[in-house]
Amino acid sequence: MSYVSSMRCKECSREYPVGAFNVCDFCFGPLEVVYDYDAIAEVTSRERIMSGPNSLWRYADFLPADYNPDVDINAGFTPLIRSKGLAEHLGLNELWIKNDSVNPSYSFKDRVVAVATAKALELGFDTIACASTGNLACAVAAHAARGGLKSYVFIPSDLETGKVLGAAIYGPTMIAIDGTYDDVNRLCSELAEEHPWAFVNINVRPFYADGSKTLGFEVAEQLGWRAPMHAVVPSASGAMFTKIYQGLKEFERTGLIDSVQTKMHSTQPRGCCPIATAYEEGRFVIRPVKASSLATSLAIGNPADGYYALKTIEASGGSAVIAEEHEVALGVKLLAETEGIFTEGAGGVAVMGLKHLVELGRIQPDESTVVYITGNGLKTTELVADVVHPLHIEPTVEAFEQAIAASTA
């Protein structure tokens, strides 16, 4: 059973009954889910969690929806890998990689959509929807397919086919919108008000966002029930960043782990870095930007949770760093070559952000650090297409030996 008691405005604290809405009627602040932590603390335990399913639903006591096998595609409980090659490269002694690129539709979005979809069914919806340029569309379409739900996926019409193929394969109704990014934004926020759909990151966003708490829960459990000293997280809307920290603090509050000292570090690409820019300027007002980045899944110019990401940085003693655009592909290659993990541009930003944090002295060699890899490189192969340069040979052993000798000379 869920331990949700109500919904509450993050700005004015006005409380609301649980329902499919995300904005405070009074001050237009965002709503968040309120939990009865005393009740959760009564029932939860490390043993109870460890005996749960090998998916994010092992943390169901901390989620706003009940487990529903009809829409479950087994999101979450992805590997936490002790880094060797990347750690050596960066001079770190305890680096861990949270490889969330191996979720069912190949990104962390499966976590948020799993929770949003389960909640949507509880609230009586038969249709889920989203506006996306990639990963979110895949997760929504996949969960809808599993659950036999209708789904609508809105995309900008100039998006490359390859970016949305991973969503189209699941058979959603896909609508390509002619117009600018801002036009797509405006239309989708209007549609969300007019149609009886669960628009996963609009009217059911409070539940959707809480799916990302499991990225905090899992890391704590996989580290042997402790929080890391540092978390390095790629940021777009900022929601995942804030929810990882919330997850760690919820484990602390319910007695599952000791005091959380984790410093939260946000990483963004130069082509879209409104959160990092505000951090560097020492302000809490996000200046929206026109996003243009090779890390396409981070290209959110007006991040809904940017302000809260900045507050999380402040509360945790963390920071924000920027990876240059030319570093995006470098980071992808570095992770692949040192750890055997192929990530998308957002992962490249996380890796290069981590490198900068070490260079800046914000992370010391012996401090436990987790870097979050949230999406799979096979979706954005064009980013690193230049790595393909095979040795061309005639079909003879002699030609092979000559080519190898030449390449290693």
Binding site: E11, C27, F28, P30, S132, S237, V285, A299, N302
Partner: protein, 78 residues
């Protein structure tokens, strides 16, 4: 009715844009929350009126250099 966020930069912060919009267009403005700091400020507000009149008003606001977004910020995600 529309819920929007205006973001003002630099010199625009001192301009009475919302007052002028309500005066010159058939739009009722209702400010819900705002934050103004040096060099940047935003206002969350509700606009009531005919759809085409709201669109005309927002077009004028944008022409001044004010950024206009849905109140919930970006809904397109990666």
């Amino acid at each position: 009715m529309q819920r929007v966020r205006f973001t003002f930069l630099d010199r625009l912060i001192k301009e009475p844009v919302i007052y002028q919009m309500g005066r010159d267009f058939g739009v009722v403005t209702n400010i819900r929350r705002a934050d103004i700091q040096e060099g940047i400020g935003w206002v969350l507000l509700e606009l009531e009126g005919e759809d085409n009149e709201i669109e005309r008003a927002l077009k004028w606001v944008r022409s001044l250099g004010v950024r206009v977004d849905p109140a919930v910020s970006d809904v397109v995600e990666g």
